[in-house]
């Protein structure tokens, strides 16, 4: 459950960072004109904050040692997943990220109810 939550946050954070990159912004939001400098910076900061938050969640939920290992591991899986998606199915990235985020929120709800 905690892993699902951390993964959802990590994936969303990475996608936010990706949107701030012109190459991937063109893939994710083809209709939009390039982001303004301010908006790109906001995406980057938002993405970084999400990643930091996901690390804190991992450390809190899984303990220091395992939490750190799990965070790095999930980061690896998310980066690899995004690399494959951007290469073969860029239009699915946003949908998959939303699903992962919903699953993460569901994981919180299940964790709370349990």
């Amino acid at each position: 459950m905690a892993m699902l939550l951390i993964f959802g946050l990590v994936l969303t954070g990475l996608v936010a960072l990706a949107i701030a990159m012109p190459r991937h912004q063109r893939q994710l939001l083809p209709a939009r004109p390039p982001l303004t400098v301010a908006l790109a910076l906001a995406c980057r900061i938002g993405g970084a904050l999400l990643l930091l938050f996901s690390l804190l969640v991992a450390l809190r939920a899984l303990g220091g040692g395992i939490g750190a290992v799990a965070w790095f591991g999930l980061l690896t899986v998310a980066i690899a997943l995004l690399a494959l998606l951007f290469a073969y199915a860029p239009r699915k990235v946003l949908a998959i990220t939303v699903i992962a985020l919903l699953a993460a929120l569901a994981a919180i709800w299940v964790g709370w109810a349990a």
């Binding site: 892993m3 990706a18 303990g63 790095f72 591991g73 690896t76 690399a83 951007f86 290469a87």
Partner: protein
């Protein structure tokens, strides 16, 4: 100035990666499989019943003691490993006599006798090959693996330095673009698992630190045997060196001492029990706590007097901070603490590292061939690397597949069948290297991808023909070790099939890439 620096880093990256590349591929592949060592062990011994973690420790300890008293009453040391989780799935007995004779058994608590199972090295042998290699004297193997690991570490760091667009290309993989795609793949595999690669390489070196840097211990303790013994005693405690009194005295029942430990720690926490000088007046019993499930490998241990049963010493999980740091680092490498999901992530990262090495080896050949096509100078070096690449990148996995095939095909009564399984593995590897040397390059890739697809796809079928723990039974029964292994073989076969369809063209015949050669100005 800056260009020269990056140029030399590129040169260093190429050669520190290429020269030990095939050894590193072997180390990474066997190491990755080692995360499933006990699962592979169990698949290779289908006669063993599924592991059970619910048997009471007191019963297991009593069975173990009875067997050890019968089998090794004169031993200097007994070891009993209790089945707590997948790291130790069965009750394990080990003993050592004063003459250095050793014995090893997996004991069935129901029959109070060892399980009757085929002799095999199992997954443990693949795991040990990861640093001992095979057929080589141990020390030579350790130095070879160490040198290769150092090369890996240098390659990782120089790789980071020369990866100019590391953030810009973070998620970049552009397939079907020739050399560019191989470089992208190499980069994504390296960068996405970079924390893992750095950790695994550094901690790998750390495992053998006292071999590679013996003077550090020697500076404090001297080079004499006495000095070395003192070091070991300070690190691990002196109890194991307790001299025998030479007076026979019946030891207190281990189950009773176990009860003391469980009263202190709670049930299900005892991981192993050691008995020093069993049956002697100076016997000692050390009971080990399995650890709290965190990354630190060690737990508390209790030392009892073997004859009287009195508690002599309590050793905390952390006795020295530097040792604890070392234990945490080694614990990260081994990943024994990892639950199922985290273990799969370790395997994923290990496979990424293996593929990183493979794509690096292929990339070197692709770049060289392009350069050779322009300048007309082929070079025997290029041909050599190209052939060994095929025979190793595909050949080694096929050889491991052959190891599994041999496990099912070799008769159980064959003397030394465990050794013959390994011979089958290395003979297969040799055969595929020969095939790669003799066939035209493009054909060699295609044929080896095809062989790999078949050897893994047919393994579950072989399992149906040779055992009754095959997919048609294991899936409905929820026998996840066997079902999981067979399904993993099918997945690997699917991977090689994808490779067969897509890759040989892209490796062997490099079209002139219309994307400019990266770092073209940096000759390597």
């Amino acid at each position: 100035m800056k260009d020269f620096f990056r140029q030399s880093m590129a040169w260093l990256h190429t050669w520190s990666g290429l020269v030990p590349g095939w050894i590193l591929y072997f180390v990474f592949l066997t190491g990755t499989l080692a995360y499933f060592d006990t699962e592979i062990d169990r698949w290779m011994k289908p006669e063993m019943p599924p592991a059970r973690f619910d048997l009471p420790a007191a019963l297991l300890v009593e069975v173990a003691q009875q067997r050890l008293v019968a089998q090794a009453p004169e031993a200097q040391r007994w070891f009993v490993g209790l089945p707590l989780d997948r790291n130790q799935p069965y009750l394990r007995l080990f003993w050592e006599t004063a003459d250095g004779e050793r014995g090893n058994e997996l004991l069935d608590p129901a029959t109070r006798a060892p399980y009757a199972a085929r002799e095999t090295g199992g997954g443990q042998l693949l795991y040990r090959m990861h640093w001992n290699l095979h057929y080589l004297p141990r020390d030579l193997a350790w130095w070879l693996v160490g040198a290769a690991t150092l090369g890996m570490f240098v390659a990782l760091i120089t790789g980071i330095v020369i990866h100019v667009k590391i953030f810009k290309d973070f998620f970049t993989f552009r397939p079907a673009k020739g050399q560019r795609s191989w470089l992208d793949a190499h980069n994504v595999l390296s960068v996405s698992a970079l924390p893992f690669h750095l950790m695994i390489t550094f901690t790998g070196l750390l495992f053998m630190a006292s071999t590679y840097m013996p003077l550090i211990v020697a500076a404090q303790y001297g080079t004499s045997k006495e000095g070395q013994r003192r070091f070991v005693q300070e690190m691990f405690g002196a109890t194991r060196e307790t001299p025998a009194a030479g007076v026979a005295q019946p030891g207190v029942a281990l189950a009773q001492l176990l009860a003391s430990a469980e009263a202190r720690w709670g049930g299900g926490m005892v991981d192993s029990i050691e008995v020093i000088n069993p049956g002697d007046a100076n016997a000692r019993v050390i009971i080990h706590h399995g650890g709290d499930g965190g990354v630190l490998r060690s737990g508390e241990s209790l030392t009892f007097h073997g004859a009287s049963g009195g508690l002599l010493d309590t050793r905390a999980a952390v006795t020295s901070t530097p040792k604890a740091v070392r234990d945490v680092l080694l614990g990260l490498h081994e990943g024994l603490f990892a639950g199922p999901l985290l273990r799969w992530i370790y395997v994923f990262s290990g496979l990424a590292g293996t593929a990183m090495i493979a794509t690096g080896l292929v990339l070197w050949v692709v770049k060289r061939r392009q350069r050779a096509a322009k300048s007309g100078v082929g070079g025997r070096g290029l041909a050599l690397v190209e052939r060994i690449n095929i025979g190793t990148v595909i050949g080694l996995p096929v050889a491991i597949g052959a190891y599994f095939w041999a496990n099912r095909l070799l008769p159980a009564e064959l003397p030394g069948r465990g050794d013959w399984e390994v011979h089958a593995m290395f003979l297969t590897w040799l055969a595929l290297l020969a095939h790669a040397a003799l066939r035209p390059v493009a054909h060699a890739w295609t044929e080896q991808f095809a062989i790999a697809t078949l050897i893994f796809a047919l393994l579950p079928l072989l399992n149906v023909l040779t055992t009754d723990r095959h997919l048609l039974r294991s899936l409905p029964a929820g026998d996840w070790i066997f079902a999981g292994f067979d399904l993993a073989m099918l997945a690997i076969a699917a991977g090689f099939f994808w490779g067969l369809c897509r890759l040989p063209r892209r490796i062997a015949a490099t079209p002139a890439s219309d994307v400019p050669e990266p770092l073209a100005e940096l000759r390597s």
